[in-house]
C-alpha cells in the first residue's frame, strides 16, 4: 500500500515546493528571534501603548504615553499620513465611513459603514451598517450582503479556503459562512465585546459571555471547547500590529494623532497629526486592522 501511495503522481510537486519555500523563507526572515522578543523594553512599550489605546486616556494613561515618547523619542511627527512604516493596508472607520489606507498613504473610502474587519488573508473586508452585514473587496465592490437588525462587531476568521464571520445582531452572537450562506445564532447570552477567532484551531471562536466568563466554541459543531477560558484569548482592544509584527499603531484621540511604534531595534516612534480631518471625521477614527500586503 505504501508503495502505491508513493507512486501516485502529485501534480506540480516541484513547483509547489519551491513556491512554498519562498513564502516560508520570507516568513522566517520576518520572524523575530525569541531572545529579542523577550527583551523587556519592547514589552513595556507595547503594554504602555496598549493601555493608552484601550481608551484609558486618564492622566496616568497620558503619562504612560508621555513616558514612551520620552524614552523612545519621537523621531518625526508628520502633518499627514504620507505612508505606512510597514507593508500592508490599514482599515479605518470614521464618521465618514470605512477606509482602506495603502502603504503609500493613498486612501479609498469603501462606503458608509460603522465597523469593519479584514478577512483572514486580507482579500476581503466585512463591514457593518445599521441593519446590514456586507462583504466587499478592498476596492469597495460589494460581494454579498445580509440584512440583519443592529449589526455590530463583525470578525472574519478561518483558513484560506474555508471561512466564517462572527457578528452581533440584536444582542445575539451569530455566525455566517464567508460566502454569506448558513447564517445562524451561535449564542444569545454573549456580551457585546469583539469576539476572536482561534487561528490555529479551525473554526473555534472565543467570546465573552454575559456572566463574565470567556467561552471557546467550535462554531461548526456548536461544541463548547472551554467554558472558562483566559480573557487574553479575546481580541486585544488596543495594539494593532503590522503584518510583519514589527510595528504597532494606536490612536491617541486627545492629540488627534496616530502613533506608530517599532517593536524591535532600533526602536522608533512616528506620530501622524490631524488624523480626524484626513478621514473627514468629526470624531477620532477607529483603526480596525492592519492586514496583509496585496
Amino acid at each position: 500500500m505504501r508503495h502505491e501511495l508513493e507512486q501516485i503522481e502529485v501534480p506540480g510537486e516541484h513547483e509547489a515546493r519551491e513556491r512554498s519555500w519562498t513564502i516560508v523563507r520570507a516568513a522566517y526572515a520576518e520572524r523575530e528571534p525569541s531572545e529579542r522578543r523577550r527583551s523587556w523594553k519592547p514589552i513595556v512599550v507595547l503594554a504602555g501603548v496598549a493601555v493608552v489605546a484601550a481608551g484609558l486616556l486618564s492622566p496616568p494613561g497620558r503619562a504612560v504615553l508621555d513616558e514612551i515618547r520620552e524614552v523612545v523619542g519621537v523621531e518625526r511627527s508628520q502633518p499627514a499620513l504620507f505612508s505606512l512604516p510597514a507593508p500592508g493596508r490599514l482599515l479605518v472607520t470614521a464618521d465618514s465611513g470605512t477606509w482602506v489606507v495603502e502603504q503609500d498613504g493613498s486612501k479609498r473610502l469603501l462606503g458608509p459603514y460603522r465597523e469593519a474587519s479584514w478577512s483572514p488573508f486580507g482579500r476581503f473586508v466585512v463591514a457593518a451598517r445599521a441593519n446590514e452585514l456586507v462583504a466587499l473587496t478592498p476596492d469597495g465592490t460589494v460581494r454579498w450582503s445580509l440584512a440583519r437588525p443592529d449589526v455590530r462587531l463583525p470578525r472574519w476568521g478561518g483558513t484560506r479556503t474555508d471561512t466564517r464571520i462572527a457578528y452581533f445582531s440584536g444582542g445575539q452572537l451569530r455566525v455566517v459562512g464567508g460566502d454569506g450562506e448558513g447564517d445562524r445564532v451561535l449564542d444569545e447570552d454573549a456580551a457585546a465585546r469583539a469576539p476572536a477567532w482561534q487561528q490555529e484551531s479551525g473554526h473555534r471562536l472565543a467570546y465573552a459571555a454575559r456572566d463574565g466568563s470567556v467561552r471557546v466554541v467550535d462554531v461548526d459543531t456548536g461544541d463548547v471547547v472551554d467554558r472558562d477560558a483566559a480573557v487574553s484569548l479575546l481580541e486585544p482592544q488596543a495594539a494593532i500590529v503590522s503584518p510583519d509584527r514589527r510595528w504597532t499603531v494606536v490612536g491617541w484621540a486627545d492629540a488627534d494623532q496616530l502613533v506608530f511604534t517599532r517593536l524591535g531595534r532600533p526602536r522608533r516612534v512616528h506620530a501622524v497629526s490631524n488624523v480626524s480631518a484626513q478621514f473627514r471625521s468629526r470624531s477620532f477614527p477607529t483603526i480596525e486592522g492592519w492586514c496583509c500586503a496585496p
Binding site: 505504501r2 506540480g12 509547489a16 519555500w21 479556503t161
Partner: protein
C-alpha cells in the same frame, strides 16, 4: 531524530539553512499526505504551506525533544480533513473564480478509490500507509479512540480492495 533535533535547535536560533533542511525533509510527505486527502493540488499546497507557516509561528514554543514530523503531520491532516468537508461551501476563494479540483478528473486507480472514502477515513489510511504511524499514534494525532482508528482502517482498506 538527532539530526532533526539539531535542525530544530538551529532554526529556533535563527539559522535559515537549518529551517531549509527541515523544510526539504518534511515538505514532500506533508504535501503528498495533504493531496491524498483533499485530491486538489492547489489546496494541498496551501495546506502544507500553512502548516509550515504555523510551525514557524510556534517555533520558539516547540519542545525540541519531541519529533517535528508528527507535529507537522497533525496540522496537515486535520486541515486537510476540514478542507475536504467544507470544499463546496463558504470558501473565501470561491468568491472569485476557482479551478475545478483534480478529484473530478481521477481515473480508476488507488487515488480514485481513495477519493470514494470519507475524508477522515482517507486521513487514517494516509497516516497509516504513507506516513507509517501506528494505530495508537494515529489515535493520538487525530484525537480519536484507538478502536475508531482501527475500524476506519479496516473499512477503508476493505473499500479500497473492492474498488481497485
Amino acid at each position: 531524530m538527532g539530526s532533526e533535533g539539531a535542525h530544530v535547535r538551529g532554526a529556533q536560533r535563527g539559522s535559515a539553512s537549518d529551517l531549509e533542511a527541515l523544510f526539504r525533509l518534511h515538505w514532500p510527505r506533508a504535501y503528498r499526505a495533504a493531496f491524498l486527502v483533499v485530491h486538489d493540488a492547489a489546496a494541498a499546497e496551501d495546506i502544507a504551506q500553512e502548516a509550515f507557516l504555523a510551525a514557524i509561528r510556534n517555533l520558539d514554543r516547540f519542545d525540541r525533544r519531541r519529533p517535528f514530523g508528527p507535529w507537522l503531520h497533525r496540522i496537515v491532516v486535520n486541515r486537510a480533513i476540514d478542507w475536504t468537508r467544507a470544499r463546496q461551501l463558504r470558501a473565501e476563494s470561491e468568491l472569485v473564480d476557482a479551478p475545478a479540483p483534480e478529484a473530478e478528473r481521477l481515473d480508476g486507480t488507488v487515488l480514485a478509490a481513495l477519493a470514494a472514502l470519507p475524508p477522515d477515513h482517507r486521513a487514517v489510511i494516509v497516516l497509516r500507509h504513507l506516513l507509517e504511524y501506528t494505530p495508537g499514534e494515529i489515535a493520538e494525532l487525530l484525537g480519536l479512540p484507538r478502536g475508531t482508528v482501527n475500524s476506519r482502517l479496516r473499512r477503508g482498506l476493505d473499500s479500497l480492495r473492492e474498488t481497485v
